[in-house]
Symmetry: none
Subunit: 231 residues, 2 copies
DNA sequence: AATCAATATTAAGATAAAGTTAAGTTTTTT
DNA sequence: AAAAAACTTAACTTTATCTTAATATTGATT
């Protein structure tokens, strides 16, 4: 997949910024479209179905957060990555942004190089998850476990287990690559996200609950390294 | 690439802060060096060529912004990430920081966990560009041994061996260059890290345990020089 | 062959990492 | 608004792994 196959929707109310950023990402070969407010953004998004939306938080009328929440309800856009553009110091918006379904936030002013590096990182995630889904389908089977990603259900030898979100995602992560050791950092990034900070023992507690439900012998600890799923 | 392979230069005029932050990032295994002013920072940066510089903005004589501008002129430091440390509310400095070539800013006071999360996010960019690691095969084979880095497993003629972290890394080091003699210093630097001090016999004990598991005839002692892996 | 520094061997002690539990928070559901 | 569920934290326990220390062995050098 080439840069030119990625559609990026850029939303900001200031024409200067719009032009500046659009220029820089166009130069890298991405396909860019723009919108000046939340309403327009939603219209354009529905039409072009972009892979990535760069969404300014501070906008008149409908702000970025609100726009994001509406975008997230759109079924077609569920795979779209949404990154917020926020002015420095707007700590609150960062947190709220994640609640609203944002995947990342980028603080303005941002240097073109940095921005592009962030965009590429985000799109890499897209590539990765896209390939996963195609190759693996929505149901994963490993030993006595069947995981249905869509239904959010785990079946252990024909018994249905209902796992809370975090436990489910943790299991899903480990099980996608059986035997691979996932470091704590990898797990945090994948399950909690890069910018969320939680205590050291949180992961252990979730591992424990998982083991309680799927059996002790599936998740193995490699002390000082991480955890892995084994059959 | 391991945390201990990342060099971080920390610059702040207040010894307390210096010590506090240094303590916290050292604990995570990063290699840290410090400087108390802009001039010193430039000297040290040239010498150690750090991956990341955490630079306090408010410093007597030469402030962080100015220091950054000078650092940015250094050819060797063009890949170095520079992040500013600023007190909350110093609005101006943040903007100026980006003009000066900074990549990020972090507001003080900062909680250790948050700081570390930010640092890891910044260094991830480095890792990403340095990504030959992944393509560089995760499995190494030598004589009857197969080492799987991803799974953290060593297989000796179809028998799985589980090696603890230090033993695994030690074997990995030796086996990447069969027949090369690694001195004790080289081994310490690679497996333990530059700043960790352990007794002389520690290495012998690990070698012994390795020999116990993979067979006596693979690791050869060159008295007075070091150890090497032979087939 | 005697010497001596370097390495080997062991087992015990120390340590850092992970496990456990229960009590707080927060979020979601009713 | 109350209740329940999910998540996080914190204090404490356990354990695998690492280090040390004491003693033995090796092998180069004279």
């Amino acid at each position: 997949m080439n840069n030119k196959d990625f559609r990026i929707l850029l939303v900001d109310d200031e024409p200067d910024i719009l032009e500046f950023i659009a220029y820089n990402i166009t130069k890298e070969g991405f396909e860019v479209c723009t919108a000046q407010n939340g309403k327009e953004a939603i219209d354009v998004a529905k039409k072009v179905n972009p892979h990535l939306i760069l969404l300014d938080v501070m906008m008149p009328e409908m702000d970025g957060i609100e726009t994001c929440e509406i975008l997230r309800q759109e079924e077609d856009l569920k795979d779209t990555i949404i990154a917020f553009l926020t002015a420095r110091g707007e700590d609150y918006s960062q947190i709220a942004g994640f609640d609203a379904g944002g995947d990342d936030y980028i603080t303005k002013p941002v240097k073109p190089k940095v921005l592009l590096s962030r965009i590429k990182a985000l799109l890499k995630r897209f590539r990765a998850s896209n390939e996963d889904e195609k190759s693996e389908g929505l149901v994963i089977k490993q030993s006595d476990l069947v995981i249905d990603k869509e239904k959010y259900i785990v079946t252990k030898s024909d018994k249905e287990l209902i796992l809370p979100k975090k436990e489910f995602e943790l299991l899903l992560l480990l099980i996608t690559k059986p035997d691979k050791v996932f470091t704590r950092d990898e797990i945090f990034n994948a399950v909690w996200g890069e910018n969320i900070v939680v205590g050291d023992r949180t992961i252990d507690v979730h591992i424990r609950k998982l083991r309680e439900k799927i059996g002790d012998n599936h998740i193995k600890t490699i002390k000082g390294v991480g955890y892995k799923f084994v059959n």
